[in-house]
Symmetry: none
Subunit: 221 residues, 4 copies
């Protein structure tokens, strides 16, 4: 299937090494605090080598996003393959997202960072940026698909445009996770005087709430 030359394989390994290291450095110093020097040193590579594989610092961040998107999409696609009612697919997609964020918080941060960069000229014309977009589109497609399934099987109200509903669910999910993250990260963020809800609890209740909202009346318990 894939017959890559040794050269090619080494090249890819190098690239992966750089991304691995960048993830590590970012975990320690944050996206703003991470420097090319730090990545190069930790990877035991020359700084110039970084630029052999990535045309800019932003490219590395994009590569991290790409990796994260790929991973998430793989997880999501499995849900789509299961034999579930649409409404349950949506719920499961939510759980999968929760797991993903808990397991790879760096990717959650990366997605946020990436979104903040959108529109800046830095990303212009980048192949990686295009790839990230493609993955994002794909993720959306999974959600929309699940919604369509649910509308077909009657488990989800068909009064919404599935694409619009998908967008809403996607955005809302990210928002809930984001706020939960903030609260976990910082005691300061005592938005609720002294109550602290777990990321888990928050997301689960959110899923239930949203599920209840979109469930078709026929299926109401």
């Amino acid at each position: 299937m894939k017959k890559l030359s040794r050269k090619e394989r080494e090249r890819i390994a190098r690239r992966e090494l750089i991304i691995d290291t960048a993830e590590e450095v970012i975990s320690n110093y944050g996206f703003e605090g991470a420097t090319m020097d730090a990545v190069a040193e930790k990877a035991e590579l020359g700084k110039g080598t970084l630029y052999l594989h990535f045309k800019s610092k932003a490219s590395i961040y994009l590569a991290i996003c790409e990796r994260g998107s790929k991973k998430l999409n793989q997880l999501m696609s499995k849900v789509l393959a299961e034999d579930l009612k649409g409404i349950d697919m949506i719920k499961k997609l939510g759980m999968v997202y929760l797991d993903f964020v808990k397991t790879y918080p760096i990717y959650f941060s990366a997605f946020n960072y990436y979104e903040n960069l959108i529109g800046e000229e830095k990303l212009a014309g980048s192949e990686l940026a295009a790839q990230c977009e493609e993955y994002a589109r794909e993720a959306m497609a999974y959600i929309v698909r699940a919604l369509q399934v649910g509308m077909q099987d009657g488990s989800i109200k068909d009064s919404y445009d599935p694409r619009e509903l998908g967008l809403i669910i996607w955005g809302a999910s990210k928002g809930v996770v984001h706020i939960a993250f903030l609260k976990e990260k910082k005691d300061h963020m005592k938005i609720l005087d002294d109550v602290s809800f777990s990321l888990e609890s928050l997301v689960k209740n959110f899923i239930e709430l949203i599920g209840s909202g979109m469930r078709s009346d026929d299926h109401k318990s």
Copy 2:
């Protein structure tokens, strides 16, 4: 009512001028791209003057957040004063938030930026930061209050902890608005191949969805 000396009034005016200008500069160059030099020049002030009124760049950003929070809270508080069912209060709060974001997109950005800074030492001990937090707590309190009203009057299910539900609604709302913003800001962000939903439509449907999810069965139409 309030008799401020001319000095005092001028001082406040200067301060407001700086914040105004900073908002303008940030709108053009983004939070990272905005420099103190640019603000000073645009405000036709010396750079030192900026530091006469704000002890750091972060302080100005914080002041912008404070201003935005204050404004939003004023709008929210009015809703609480109305004679509405809890569920309708929540919906109206959502609409108010939508209006706010559309009218003052800069504040929406500022809130996001501020949240990213939380936990950094830069904000430590700042009076402004404390004020911002206080406003955030207050905003949450309005939502929780509305939920409690709804649970009392039977328009909202009382199976959730109102504080947790408040957090969910707050987070989800921000997430929905955020994603809608992204789409408006950038054609690139074609998460849905070529369909574009308005911020308005998205948020309204989100409100309906969430409202439907939390409505107590007695009130189901």
Copy 3:
């Protein structure tokens, strides 16, 4: 003798207040670290008022030097008035200097700071600078006088030019005190691995050494 108008007296009091405060601020923050703002605030005066009395920051420093020089000279002049052998005058002058430095370390620092500024254009044409110089000349004159007395009364060798010898004694004394200060100020400055001699002991032994060196043979014990 001195009939100063109230205006004049108040003016002088203001001036003294500023110098007092500056000494205090410098004691806390050092010469480089002291700012006009800090002095103004501590003196409870407007910053502009400082410039009403002193044309620059350097002027204040100069005024401190002048004050210190005046004080030291008063002390030295008393020694000259005593009925002592020249060699004992010199020794007593040394003790007086030691006392002075211990009592007013700020002036010792001020003298050093002033000397470092000599030659910079900042001091050019200043009346205060001229006054400081005059005081320094006067201090030298006291030493030279004592030496001459000693050469006359036979207690000091007359093989040296009294003016040159005076310069040497003056310089050496300051050097000894300086190094003793350094050691007291900082444990770091462990020039002698772990031994620490008191400023007092150092200076006294220095006086004895120098005294022994210049004593005429007739007076050798």
Copy 4:
């Protein structure tokens, strides 16, 4: 003997170039007046390059001190190796110091500047600072050694603690040289109305004076 790679040699040469240039700039503008920009420009290097070799401005100053200390210590160590009476060693050390100061006035200034910084946090933990201290300790050790030699061979009174005496001699010498410098540097500094003694004469007479003071009676001429 030492085979350094070309890279290594170039690296050292760059470093030396920077120190050379810094010495030059400091000679012209003083320690406070010298800026990193000026050094970079004069060295025809990018400003960043300076920071490639020195982690801060203070580090460059420290490097100058280190260089000077090293040079002085080499000269002093040679004296210790000679077959001289202790008292003559001390005198010769004095002459060596005089020569050093006349040849490299910049180092004399650097030492003074360095001493003023001692105790500031800027130097904390610096390897260079430690090296400078070590050199200072070593210089003191030479003086103490010579004194001990003199006490042994009977040319110096043994009534003093050699370490304390060493400190006195070191301090006094610096003080004499300092005052002589001041007079040479500036006609203003007319501490003695119109007489000017050469640095040379001053130091030589100081040496004789101090020598005479510490000479044991057996050796008095």
